[in-house]
Symmetry: none
Subunit: 211 residues, 4 copies
Amino acid sequence: MDGTGLSPKKTAVYEAVIELFTEGADLNNLTVAEITAKAGIGKGTAYEYFSNKEEMIAGALFYAMKNVCQSLCRRFEHEKDLCAKVDFILMDMEEHFANTNCFFRALHVLMDHSAISAKLREMVRKKREDEIVFMDLVRMLVDKEMEDVTGLAQEDREYLMMMILSKIICFALYQFGANQELHLESSVMRALICRNISSEIESFKTSMIGA
Amino acid sequence: MDGTGLSPKKTAVYEAVIELFTEGADLNNLTVAEITAKAGIGKGTAYEYFSNKEEMIAGALFYAMKNVCQSLCRRFEHEKDLCAKVDFILMDMEEHFANTNCFFRALHVLMDHSAISAKLREMVRKKREDEIVFMDLVRMLVDKEMEDVTGLAQEDREYLMMMILSKIICFALYQFGANQELHLESSVMRALICRNISSEIESFKTSMIGA
Amino acid sequence: MDGTGLSPKKTAVYEAVIELFTEGADLNNLTVAEITAKAGIGKGTAYEYFSNKEEMIAGALFYAMKNVCQSLCRRFEHEKDLCAKVDFILMDMEEHFANTNCFFRALHVLMDHSAISAKLREMVRKKREDEIVFMDLVRMLVDKEMEDVTGLAQEDREYLMMMILSKIICFALYQFGANQELHLESSVMRALICRNISSEIESFKTSMIGA
Amino acid sequence: MDGTGLSPKKTAVYEAVIELFTEGADLNNLTVAEITAKAGIGKGTAYEYFSNKEEMIAGALFYAMKNVCQSLCRRFEHEKDLCAKVDFILMDMEEHFANTNCFFRALHVLMDHSAISAKLREMVRKKREDEIVFMDLVRMLVDKEMEDVTGLAQEDREYLMMMILSKIICFALYQFGANQELHLESSVMRALICRNISSEIESFKTSMIGA
DNA sequence: TATGAATGAGAATTCATTCAT
DNA sequence: AATGAATGAATTCTCATTCAT
């Protein structure tokens, strides 16, 4: 999955960026010098593969998000239902801070007004069909869960996606400790979220049958 | 509420920053020159009131967030229940893009690793009791809704706060068009979110009685 | 001697500058804000009495040098000979670090290429007859010592002045610890310098008689 | 002696600084822009070789002082005695105003309270054994002259160093015309100084035999 | 292809001086 | 007369990008 045709230099740059921001660097203040030093290549070399700094960083975010999502996608396939799958995602986020980080940074950057942001949005827009980003993951979750429900409106599908997305953001927010005022334990939080999704889905299905 | 003893120059800087990012500027690439030009004061003057650029920007975010929250807080008081209040908040966000912007930017910055972020977090930590920031607003919503529920654990309270927060973020995400893949109409989205919150609160209350 | 017609504001500025550089401030990096704050007056006020910063600092140096020299001049009058007088000066420098400081700083600045330097040199050039600066002190020492030597050429007089001056600079250098490589004790140093001056004067007188 | 492993850019900066202050610039008001313009390199380039302005200027002073001292040291070796050597130094100072300038500026800066001063002092403290600065030159003069005098106390050695240093300062003072009141001719001055040092040494040696 | 030395545009910050009160 | 808020020119330093090797 690394050998997707990426030149080793490009991968080195991507991994350097990811390492740097996993170490806590601020994406908006990353320098090309830092990146290439970490990547172990010359500054000029980076410019052979990227046309500017934004491309390096946005590319790295895209690369990371893709990798995390693809890996998750493969690994949660055997989980029995949506609830278990979400729990799997949350546990993964809990175990691999770097993953939360990547996922979250990407989301974060997606709504910046920075040059990096514009680039990343463009990359998501132009991505190949088989490149899975976060929203694809969530869509797959919903589609799988609802595969035998007939007559699911596009509207409903999107509502469910949003619902799940909001839960995951909720957990990420919690993990980031951005709100240090909260005292919930991680496992409790996870349980609450999963229980909640279940009941939501249940009530949704019931309401559909009723309709 | 603007006359909180703020010097006019300070306010001018704050408002310049807010205007700039409402216009779509990237907070991390704002220059002091831009800010003071917009504020109509000399570059040096800004440094009479702030000790560095970060203080100007973080201060502006804090000021805006405080203002938006205080105003919201006062205005949704008469709304009958939590659901109506959230709807009120979402409508406000819909009508005043600047509000979404401010609120969202602040949240966004809160989880950066930038210098501005650190400063803003510090400001939130050190704020006066009567300065309402976003989490206070959400806490008030929950406390009001749950005031006649006895035996609400701190844990549960926090969970509910997180739940509501995540929905609002969802709406903001949607507004920002970060998920251009979604086609829901704004009013539908709002309705869905409110319905969802209601049902969660309901099921929460039920589960408490059962317990 | 302070009531030489100096306005109290002017004196306040002078004394503030002297205090500041006695505390170790770098003359070339003194700011008007610092000076007026120390002087206890408004920044604008300083500009009522001085036309620019250089005038304040050069003025302060001139004022200090004049005061130290006048005081020394009065006090060493009763010392029996040149040697005793020089010893008196050196002891004064040893006891009052501020004096060494002032005297030295002034000399130091005299050979700068800074704006302050130009101003101070101008002040020395234009000074009133009764204002004693360092070279006057030294000249008086030489003239007194040589008063009963007939036929002392201007040339010789100047040589002697230079000779004495260089010894005093040597002592100041030593005091400043600029030559931390030297381990002589202060009193020893003083004695050596005086002995040295005596012998020079002696040999000078002898050579004159011989001539 | 320029090929001491110094990169050409570094040397260019050093030489630019020296040229600038030989032309009369004030060391404390030299700007990086001026220096790099004179050196014929880009502003940014200077920062590839120095970490700040102080390092450039202090480095230049140290470089100049070292070069002047090393060259003098080599050239006066064949002079027969201390007196001739000092005369050689003085003549060199007379002929090459730049040399006097460098030497004097360095001494001058050594007793500043500026950042440059601190840096230069540090450089002198940390210098390699084979880097000769001014005090080393003077020490060598004394040691050579006194090599066959047994029982020379450290105290005496230092006294002699001070004595010689004071004469040289005397000549520099004279040269700088800081005291434009002096009318002595240069050659006369030099003669006086040398004669004086001779007699001083003579009387010193005599006193030692007597002791 | 890979490099990193060189660059200069651009940003933050300081501070002498002015001037309205 | 005294003030200090306001200013912007000037300065240091950074860093994306280029290009000769």
